[in-house]
């Protein structure tokens, strides 16, 4: 790309590292984050799918979100808060650190701030990622399992299907990811194994 001398000079002068600033418009949850006295926004960038990534630190300068090696990682800010059973409530805001189920779903296009259906899809995705079949907040899987997912609509359950998901957990379960999953379903929500149940509430399937 050709650039005039003056423009090149201006661009060179403007290569700067910036702290958090108001250069990206903030949604209500992000505004709450910006006002949170215990957190400092070090940097914010826009990802390819439109989600804003934040790098946050605590007042002592340590990263708010870290990976397994202790390195600082990015986060997303979500409206509302989550109860222990995985249900959502509209008050406050939440920080979803990279590597967690919420962040994984956002990075796969499940953007909860894009309306009611999008929020339900996001909640269904989080249940699916954690194998929270019963919708009670209990994850029944371990890291390292790669799963394939399909939105409901065109998908036809088959031999490889694990479960169909809604914001409240699984709607129907064909098989579980781990023996612990089967045991928990047997104790807490055995009705999910009834494949004759209606699947109209399924938003997402996985294999």
């Amino acid at each position: 790309m050709k650039r005039s001398g003056a423009a090149a000079l201006a661009a060179a002068l403007l290569w700067v590292e910036i702290p958090a600033s108001a250069d990206i418009s903030l949604n209500p949850a992000e505004s709450l984050l910006a006002a949170e006295p215990g957190l400092t926004i070090l940097e914010q960038t826009r990802s390819d799918n439109g989600a804003t990534q934040f790098w946050l630190s605590l007042l002592d300068g340590t990263s708010f979100c870290t990976d397994a090696d202790g390195s600082g990682t990015h986060a997303y800010v979500l409206e509302g808060a989550w109860n222990d059973d995985g249900t959502w409530r509209p008050s406050g805001f939440s920080v979803a650190c990279a590597g967690g189920a919420h962040a994984k779903c956002i990075e796969n296009g499940f953007l909860p701030w894009e309306g009611r259906h999008a929020q339900d899809m996001h909640l269904s995705c989080v249940r699916m990622v954690r194998a929270d079949y019963c919708g009670d907040g209990q994850a029944t899987t371990v890291p390292g399992v790669r799963i394939r997912f399909e939105p409901a609509g065109t998908y036809q359950p088959g031999a490889r299907t694990e479960a169909g998901w809604s914001p409240h957990g699984a709607v129907v379960v064909f098989r579980t990811r781990t023996p612990e999953g089967a045991a928990h379903i047997g104790e807490a929500c055995p009705d999910l194994l009834d494949r004759s149940a209606p699947w109209s509430e399924v938003l997402l399937w996985n294999e």
Partner: protein, 66 residues
């Protein structure tokens, strides 16, 4: 490591773009919006990675590791 490039546009607006995003913009194979519309693959895991704050700006719960 991501570096932030801040460009002051002619109109005075400021845009922030990560170097990774800038590279993706130059490529034809930039990621799509992902599976919410068309399905895909992802790594499962038990951790929520979520910290909720009350409207009073106080951390109320920590679900899963940071």
């Amino acid at each position: 490591m991501k570096k932030t490039l801040t460009v002051l546009a002619v109109a005075g607006s400021i845009f922030t773009m990560s170097a990774a995003s800038a590279l993706a913009c130059d490529s034809d194979d930039r990621p799509s919006r992902g599976g919410a519309d068309g399905g895909g693959w992802l790594d499962n895991g038990p951790d929520l990675g979520l910290i909720s704050f009350a409207a009073t700006l106080t951390a109320t719960s920590v679900a899963g590791p940071k």
